[in-house]
Symmetry: C2
Subunit: 417 residues, 2 copies
């Protein structure tokens, strides 16, 4: 039986945190549009989540734009928007060097995560599904005595580099395939096992959206997935944990009525209209292409110097399915993005549309099922669930446009204990 955790206080990125003397479990359910929870709850497949919502609170919160995984996980673990932490996608084009740069390491993170500070008083464990996220968020945590590993590489965890080893033995299951729902369930199983063992008492558990890219909410595979998540929530409840759940982004079908992928190839279009020299950055692009074929609902445009940005903006606005076009300055201000990692224009697409570069950049054959994706405004609202009632001031704030990256603030400071 693990001992009672310590109460502790710390401050990160200007936010003070007071950590109650209870196990803390913060969960980011990747790609979990509220409809997934609704479909499972409606069918009685998430009894523990139902209990959590009734004992605590459930609202919708606004994610950070663009609605991508790294952007929002970075926001949640730092408590600040992308304009501050700097992660605005999986990659960007660096005008000064003329190179496309993958933001796949902590070097690109301009704000500290809350983990090293939390680890001063608590046993912190960060478990992600994808290794790429672990790489970004582990910085400083292992040195501070914490644990950080991914289910994707659970069997590669070493005490020196991950703060733990023998993960497969602790969890009681082998390392899962990354293209599976199990890769996510494993994240929660690992958290529950570490909590039971007393190896950690302060968790950030971040899943992957393989299931959500593949399945609509009411499909049995999705329902079974959420039932699996729910089983682990039950283990955290049994252990007396304070639980906070949110998502990095929602998920929508991006299809034509015949079921084919719905894509607007921006680089092709702009080149036809204005000539060569356009570079369209799709910040969803990552090595896990089977999820989405690098197609999302957000794009950054770098235009050749000779072309009128006003004319390009106007042409983009007139395209059916383009919902927003922002200049660099407007995007930095309105979408809270880091100005130096943007392009000349930022484009968002409709609920049912993705933005592509040129057809030859996108291998649609890799898609496992119909195209479902995210990145734009229609994947912005996400669940925000806390397992206990809030203090009156935080209860009031819950009605004032809460953000998904307020999760640790609400969980540590807001719960009436």
């Amino acid at each position: 039986m693990p001992s009672r955790p310590n109460e502790s206080s710390f401050e990160v990125n200007g936010r003070p945190y007071r950590c109650p003397a209870r196990p803390i479990v913060a969960i980011c359910l990747d790609g979990s549009a509220d409809e997934y929870l609704d479909a499972a709850l409606l069918r009685g497949r998430m009894p523990n989540l139902q209990r959590i919502c009734l004992t605590g609170c459930r609202v919708l919160a606004r994610a950070a734009m663009p609605t991508f995984t790294n952007v929002n996980n970075a926001s949640i673990v730092t408590g600040v928007p992308p304009s501050v932490h700097g992660i605005c996608g999986n990659y960007f084009f660096d005008d000064s060097t003329g190179r496309e740069v993958m933001m796949n390491s902590a070097d690109f993170l301009r704000a500290s995560t809350i983990f090293p500070a939390a680890a001063a008083g608590r046993k912190v464990a960060v478990v992600t599904a994808k290794e790429k996220l672990r790489d970004i968020f582990a910085r400083g945590l292992i040195e501070a005595g914490g644990i950080a590993f991914s289910s994707e590489k659970a069997n590669a965890a070493q005490a020196k580099t991950h703060g733990i080893e023998g993960v497969e033995e602790i969890v009681g299951e082998p390392t899962p395939q990354i293209y599976s729902g199990d890769a996510s369930i494993y994240v929660l199983k690992a958290g529950a096992a570490l909590l039971r063992k007393g190896a950690a008492d302060f968790f950030y558990l971040s899943t992957t959206d393989y299931i959500q890219h593949k399945c609509a909410p009411e499909e049995e595979e999705a329902l079974a997935f959420y039932a699996g998540i729910d089983e682990q929530l039950g283990r955290f409840l049994e252990a007396g944990a304070l639980i906070g759940i949110t998502a990095d982004h929602g998920m929508n079908a991006k299809q034509r009525p015949d079921g084919s992928p719905h894509v607007l190839y921006l680089e092709s279009y702009l080149s036809e209209q204005f000539g060569a020299g356009f570079r369209v950055i799709l910040p969803i692009t990552d090595p896990y292409v089977a999820h989405h074929g690098a197609l999302g609902s957000f794009a950054v445009i770098h235009a050749p110097a000779a072309v009128s940005l006003q004319a390009v903006r106007q042409a983009l606005v007139e395209l059916a399915g383009v919902t927003e076009v922002h200049s660099r300055d407007e995007a930095a201000r309105k979408l809270q993005l880091p100005k130096d990692r943007l392009g000349d224009l930022v484009v968002c697409a409709a609920r049912d549309l993705t933005l592509g570069r040129r057809p030859e950049y996108h291998d649609l054959a890799v898609l496992r099922g119909p195209l479902r994706s995210h990145g734009g405004r229609y994947e912005e609202m996400v669940p925000f669930i806390l397992s206990e009632k809030l203090r009156p001031d935080y209860q009031q704030r819950l009605a004032c446009d809460p953000r998904n990256f307020d999760l640790f603030d609400f969980l540590l400071n807001g719960v009436a204990v």
Copy 2:
């Protein structure tokens, strides 16, 4: 026991409809953000809705912008967007006459409702909560043998003008107060009574959002309201009706963390910045001010001729809480609005913010509770629920950005019968 209704076919505004030989009940639950249904379902307060969702389907659909009652009811009953039907709010400023014009009669509707055509083969009844909606949608229906009345003036219905009289006797209850949840429940009770009596077999039932402006989803008054709605859904299910449910718009708290109303006074601001002569139209304004104090998240700006629209646009974009600013042309295209009933610029506000004219135009003392309102992009996604499974082609369309104004199309043409 009513006789079995006729099968019938008709076409309205370019859409063909085939009406199955069953009672048809289309319901617009005013202001019903999905969170209201979630909160009630989670607590077991809507067992009939749960049954409907499990037997049929439940998704989110996109409402028409601006997310106001008349705009979306007009869209639902015509099957076309505001750019076609012309109703873009409760009122507009007519540049040609220099007058603010209330759009409170069918004269402003540029497309036919589906009701007169449906009434050729079916016994059609339109029941609204507010009299203002009845006035707009009754045109041609009474002459075609249909019924149209409001719960607000149930006791004033006459055979000649409303197609029915003695409503209070039929429903078994007196005319409710308009500022009440009962005004909405009465709409459904009247529908169920007319169906049972055999007086109608094709319904459009449209409620009012008094409760949603007043209460957050988890408040007991809201839960009890939805339990009351659910009871009537049960009566339609018992009668073997095909049921379709959507909403005209969602609802969000528009408050500061201290609970006070969150308002940006645009006319004051623009006058300070650019001088006199601005006219800000708030199309939410109607005689029922206790709901919202004429404060919503959408405004239309008429600027004096001497001022640079580009400069005004830029100033508006830079305001915190302003999420979108469109020129007249852009708004007409991107928001599907009638160009001749817009102004120079159209402005949308954030999830937690409303747009006002000047403080003296808004009597915040009339608000019954904290400010909750709608009108912008954050009230755009609404429930879309059908009581039976769809044909494969409509099932596929359900994944392709369905609109709330596709309700009759899905209900009449989409259900697998």
